[in-house]
Symmetry: C2
């Protein structure tokens, strides 16, 4: 397969950025790869690790010079400053993309700093591990994972296709949708669950009667499912919540209404309503999974049980 890109720049060499660097070399996606990171320590580590064909340079400006495709991999809160820095140095016709968990805010922050001759094509690979930093990167991190590409209205179709081909070459399953739709989909599938997990963790650890160690000890009953995601990176999640505020608060309002309805049924001993509500989630879940043959991480992982039903305690 011919390389997708002639000259590629990857800015930021944390888990995602350094995984891209590794994957690009492994899959021969670009003829030339130039990478950098704001941290001198990270740049040194990347140079020592010798990630494939990548050349490590000192500044973002130097990295983007002459690049046909630039993938910015910085925290959600830093895309504006980066665009301001690199905007004037991007090649005419260059394609600029990112990996942020929120798309609306990234577009809002970057677009004003970009010349008209540059094509911004936002993207979000749904991949990661529990580790961070350049040492933690993996060449196969994106294989069989979703990557959502969100071209702007009226965007150049060739530029969008370049980004799609780039992620496909890295092994990802690519979906295309509008920016706003991405942010709403992620608000319900990822951001709200995280917000709730953080909240229940607080509730569990300040119970007056039940000690913290008891909460941990007996957490297999359900609490544990929440603590896994409640230990995610605080800075990253602050940025996500604040930058996808409208969508997150919107689904939160709906969630509060749904939770209140269940609480009211308990309060009023409405067993019928409870059976109805609790059955609905079970049935809908099965219906959707069976009808659409959905596998969670990707269409390729059909052999995985996407939704293992774990009922930790049973009376029957």
């Amino acid at each position: 397969m011919a390389p997708v890109v002639n000259r590629l720049a990857v800015i930021g060499q944390g888990l995602i950025g350094s995984s891209i660097t590794r994957a690009v070399s492994a899959n021969k996606v670009a003829r030339e790869v130039v990478v950098t990171d704001a941290s001198a320590k990270v740049r040194k580590t990347v140079a020592e690790l010798g990630l494939g064909i990548a050349k490590v340079v000192e500044t973002s400006v130097e990295a983007v010079r002459g690049a046909d495709l630039v993938i910015a991999c910085v925290p959600v809160g830093q895309y504006g400053a980066l665009a301001q820095e690199i905007g004037p140095h991007l090649k005419a016709g260059a394609v600029l993309s990112d990996v942020g968990s929120v798309k609306g805010a990234v577009v809002r922050d970057m677009l004003p700093h970009l010349p008209k001759s540059v094509h911004l094509v936002p993207a979000h690979p749904l991949a990661g591990t529990e580790h961070s930093g350049p040492e933690a990167g993996l060449a196969d991190l994106f294989e069989n994972r979703w990557c959502i590409v969100t071209p702007l209205e009226g965007a150049d179709e060739d530029a969008a296709e370049t980004v799609r081909q780039f992620w496909k070459a890295l092994g990802a399953e690519v979906e295309t949708m509008p920016v706003k739709h991405h942010d709403e989909a992620l608000a319900i599938t990822s951001h709200l669950p995280h917000l709730i997990a953080f909240a229940i963790f607080h509730t569990g650890l300040k119970h007056e009667e039940v000690s913290q160690s008891e909460v941990m000890k007996y957490s297999a009953g359900g609490f544990r499912d929440f603590t896994r995601i409640a230990s995610s990176n605080p800075t990253m999640w602050r940025d996500i919540f604040l930058n996808n505020k409208e969508a997150v608060l919107g689904v939160l309002q709906q969630f509060n209404a749904d939770l209140s309805a269940l609480a009211k049924a308990i309060e009023e001993n409405d067993g019928e309503m409870l059976i109805d509500a609790l059955s609905k989630s079970r049935l809908t879940r099965r219906k959707v999974i069976e009808k659409e043959h959905i596998s969670v991480t990707s269409a390729k992982r059909e052999h995985e049980d996407a939704f293992p039903i774990v009922r930790p305690y049973g009376d029957d």
Copy 2:
């Protein structure tokens, strides 16, 4: 090891009851085992399966006759009716125990129907699988799992010890605590997480813009952790919520306050508060786990990573 019990009766042969029957035979915990189930079909299945040394009888009354230890394994809402049925037929000095996920309601429902000469010692094995019914039982279901024994105030110490020894003989790790404390601990570690999971499932599946199949597709971002427990048995959970109402609504109130505080910080762009709150859960979690060397399912499973940190998406 000498058998813990001379004659044992197990009433109800669903997942938990039939697992007890299997485990008792495998571990030679009783000299004689008599089992039954309200369903003729289940009784037939158990007889055909030939679960170890167990004798299958037609009625609960027949099963408890002459039994030294009776373990009732019926849904939380049915303990009152069962106690009424077997109460007059229990042997003087017999020990009666159960496996219900709620202890206060079980005691409230059973105690009035029991003769003074019978010792009620409630218990709750924290074990189960995603399956139900007698075919699904496992002889090692309780191995290295917690079993919480909740003797009543002023209870006979020998009776409580019999129940503890019984569960230890089945491989469980036994903890003793008051009834009320059990119900509060389970409200936060199991019942509230389930209630929240049911609610967020509703929220996810009725989004106006985002389709059900999209919610499932991208659920690896966090939503999936909730759907696992949201597909639990509706009847069982209705019974649990209604029978542990006070404790569940109590922790729910605290949860609502904790969630509102986070929402307010997002609304007001209070990044500092968010970092503080999000970091606290991570730090507390680590502190508690490290200091107390807590493993979730039991003290024996030290090799398991009790709380694997899974961060499905990453920007850094």
